[in-house]
Symmetry: C2
Subunit: 215 residues, 2 copies
DNA sequence: GTTACCAATATTGGCGCCAATTTAGGATAC
DNA sequence: GTATCCTAAATTGGCGCCAATATTGGTAAC
């Protein structure tokens, strides 16, 4: 074929189309407002029509894309109000288990967190935008895991995607990214020191970056 | 046709199959562990195969049913750990906005809540199990709405379904239901009195009924 | 009498076709 | 020259068929 194939399609094994579209939305390859024509996606990800439709249906359930009957699906336009509200929810959930995190922290878990924070910093320099996003996710998942509530970990991962429609590209400012990296280490410090209040303060500040920035 | 048709299928207008299956799971018509054969659902709800499949896919995304490849879908077995964790999350979220609820409460909103609480009590006596469930939902939605965070309202409605796999039928004990009804009114009282702390206490107690009972 | 194997049946799930609706472009009338 | 209507292309979305796989029941062998 002479037409351009997405490199994601040439992956080693067959991966779920939903994941692929999700990643491309998160990384900004499919900007907010883009109409997701089924035939385009079919070719882009080298998959069948039903697969495309299942992916679009799932993403619209997650409210990452909007569905207009007989018109099609398009990437959600970021909504300031929603972004703020989701940020608030995240602050509520993630600070709520700070005491538990301090209580459950062990030398092992702190070492793991240090590693993940370091990996995030490395990805800032050398990684792709997706790797960077996932490194960030991994750190926060591991941190939340100390809260002892598996459902909460999953829930936060879920709602985190909810306003990430345009977000990851907002990480552009290097200053902000580096600040995020430093904050990760400060959180681990607070955890190590057993200072739950400081940890809560850091988490809240980390989430509420000006203009719903990264995390 | 001589075979038995579900009365839900004979509804006034065509409703979404996903909703219908969801309701039947919530009301206990489809008990936990039941295998949801596509051909059965097709006949039960008088719909087509693709509709059934879309519904099953959506419900498995919501983790209300489990999908075993080449075996089919079955209603999730309630999990004690998950039930507890979801309960904890709900306590976190719903108590977190208690201050806002008190701050935003008006004479109008309190009157509306009284009406909904009263309606819940009526449904205890005269309504179907589904009407009762929805009356409860309506009350809590209206209450949460005072928190001023629309996303949070939707999120709670969502996770509320997450462990409701067997739950609504657990409302059997009349004593518990009546206790729930009374608690609704006590919450409104606390709201009216501007006592946020008491409201938080009531909400937490209301959610954490022994053995993850109603709400 | 019990167990293991095999065949028949039933169920899942992938895939493509076609009708319905929308959109865009062109031609005609004013 | 501009606006409106009509026709043609494109896109969505509903529906059914068929192959792949699991399950069940029967049969034969030990």
């Amino acid at each position: 074929m002479s037409e351009v194939q997405s490199e994601t399609a040439a992956g080693p094994e067959e991966r779920d189309v939903t994941e692929l579209v999700l990643q491309d939305i998160l990384t900004g390859m499919l900007p907010a407002g883009t109409w997701l024509k089924q035939i385009d996606l079919e070719r882009r990800y080298d998959c069948t029509r039903p697969e495309v439709r299942r992916a679009l249906d799932r993403l619209s359930q997650k409210r990452l894309v909007a569905h207009v009957p007989n018109r099609g699906y398009h990437v959600y336009q970021p909504d300031d109000r929603r972004a703020k509200e989701v940020g608030d929810i995240r602050v509520i959930l993630e600070t709520a288990v700070a005491d538990m995190m301090v209580a459950n922290a062990t030398a092992d878990s702190i070492a793991t967190l240090r590693g993940l924070a370091k990996y995030f910093d490395e990805m800032t320099l050398t990684g792709t935008i997706l790797e960077h996003y996932e490194a960030n996710l991994a750190f926060h998942r591991e941190l939340l895991l100390l809260g002892g509530n598996q459902e909460l970990v999953d829930l936060v991962s879920e709602i985190r995607q909810r306003t990430s429609s345009a977000p990851v590209s907002q990480w552009r400012t290097r200053a902000r990214i580096e600040k995020s990296g430093r904050e990760h280490h400060m959180m681990i410090d607070a955890l190590e020191a057993g200072d739950a209040e400081e940890l809560k303060r850091l988490i809240a500040q980390h989430i509420r970056q000006p203009a719903d920035a990264p995390k």
